[in-house]
Symmetry: C2
Subunit: 146 residues, 2 copies
């Protein structure tokens, strides 16, 4: 919970840099949606806390998350935030270091009696020079086709 | 513009299947944000129309877009929609066919006097089995590091 939408991205980044998944999740509503960069979709605060606590203790333990441009759209009691993020220091499963990358992380905040909290977040990797994603193999199970 | 948030995803899919980038963009506010699956960030309706018209005439010309689960969050005069999408039939630059893939496409809709329109959309590819994205090479320019 933050007092103002402009305080949200700094609070998110501060929780990340403190490796504090619970503090990060506390910025979200109990039933918030969070879609991460590979399309994992969490639907409550406890799952957001658990996933970020795990990641911030493992492959993101040494990362530096730096916000770039932040755009806030005022919709009255709702705000939409887009933030460009730069991420460095990610570890590979083999212990090596992954390349630096940028993402666009967006949030939907709702005003409550106690302040502003996120009801939704979604992250998308920025792939320089690409127009769209290309799957090399089918990623659908037969039931997905209908 | 649609009469009801529940009508949004069907209208988006109908415009896609009609290969009509203008009809698709007409569902968005003039100053809407749209972050595509590789992090291209369009910030107005004309750019959303142009990009989708191009894609739907080229690499997406033979695609089938099928919505799966759709979740609508009611925030009063704002609605947040998450839709699982299955995409088949994408063409590769060499003319071959890309694999089928799924994405999570979310929207923020605002109620206006004329109906509901999207002020934001963001798409993220679902990568089965992955926890996060890994960049093989640095994707940042020196200025991104700060």
């Amino acid at each position: 919970m933050v007092d103002d939408p402009d305080a949200f991205v700094p609070a998110f980044v501060a929780a990340w840099m403190a490796r504090d998944g619970d503090a990060l999740a506390a910025l979200f509503a109990p039933d918030a949606d969070f879609v991460n960069v590979v399309g994992i979709w969490w639907e409550d605060r406890a799952d957001i806390a658990r996933a970020h606590s795990y990641a911030l203790r493992s492959f993101f333990a040494e990362t530096r998350l730096v916000p770039g441009r932040v755009k806030v759209r005022d919709l009255g009691d709702v705000a939409v935030i887009h933030a460009r993020m730069a991420l460095t220091g990610q570890r590979l499963p083999d212990g090596g270091r992954a390349g630096a990358r940028t993402t666009i992380l967006s949030f939907v905040l709702e005003r409550t009696s106690g302040g502003w909290q996120a009801v939704s977040a979604q992250n998308t990797d920025v792939v320089p020079g690409a127009e769209t994603r290309v799957a090399q193999d089918d990623r659908l199970s037969p039931g997905d086709y209908r």
